[in-house]
Amino acid sequence: MTLLLDLALIAWLLALAMHIAMAPKDQNAIVAFIAFGLLLGLGWIRLSSIDVALTEVAVGGGLTGVLLLRAEAHLRARPATGRVTSVAHRTMAALGCAAVACGLALVVLLFPAPAPTLAPTVAANLDATGLGNPVTAVLLAHRALDTLLEKVVLLLALIGVWSLAPDRLWGGAADLRPAFVPEPLAYLARMLPPFGVLIAVYMFWVGADAPGGTFQAGTVLAAMWLLVMLAGLRPAPDTRRLGLRLVLVGGPALFLAIGFLGFAIADGFLAYPEGAAKPLIVGIEAALTVSIGAILGLLVAGPARKAPTP
């Protein structure tokens, strides 16, 4: 029975991907991409990766969809002087892509059995971290360096986005308020954020022992903040404000500080002392959740479009 579900999901995913490739209008393709992201989340649940499913639906489907929809609306007025590539060109590209896909399919079919896996290693070391969710343990204890560097990558991407504003607008605010705010949107932006914040705090807290965690919670916080800004209830902040920059940097800075503290109180960089691992990890997660929410929200908001208020 679940085989039928798997086959149906895969058929839908491939059909949506083909539609995205061939749809004439960008807006249709992006809406199909949002649906693709949501169905992909279901696919991840079939792969027993619930944390990944939450992240894919929130970040891959939701936030990316909002980002692309806003960009498409901004670019809709441009002329599309489409120079479509020639048929021979497309056929060669199609053959090349088919070869890549077949190569990957061969890799999937020829997986070694017994499969190489790190699950027993993670299971053996899970108790030392005090956490119950193995994915959170891997993200914040065993492979904490990856997560720290990923935060730095997020900050670099944000600086890259900010740097695309014209020079005279540096430090200003993005422009998120639409020309006309429908009444239901304003109502939703008043009613939903308190529940959204509650859900985000819950997802962060329960991520220690059950599927959830910082990225998913941070994304929900970013979504609530974006909703408030998109409905015009609050203006987007000036990007040069010190408070905003402290919030952005606070999570990674705390992570780095606790990492260096590991030299003093444990074995080395990013090592946690026995018994105090869980409080440190939860503290890092709390700061990271707020920072991730701010970074993701500002990534969607985009570069400055108004001069900074003096």
Partner: protein, 115 residues
Amino acid sequence: MTALLNPATLFGLCGAALVGIGLFVVITHPGLLRRIVGFNILGAGIFLVFGAVARHGAGAGFASDPVPQALVITGIVVAFSATALAVALTQRLLDLTVCKTVQAPPQDQPRRSEP
């Protein structure tokens, strides 16, 4: 044959197909925004292959190997930040050059100065 019908293999094959489709969109589509969507489909396909590896490596009481899952979560967030930067670059490029498809500008068109 029935051994092939477990979720890991099926979704791994789906991921391989998505990689092919995404790569085709990135290479051939004239519109820049659609290429960014194709890049995301390509990424989704790669992550699905990762997910198949994770599901295949189940053991020790976990239904799926947690290390590839953590890598995929990191990858999804980094892919989103790359998409955000690409979208901002596209908007800036098109603010400066007017057209929204990839096309070499005619040689006699003077470069617009920054507004």
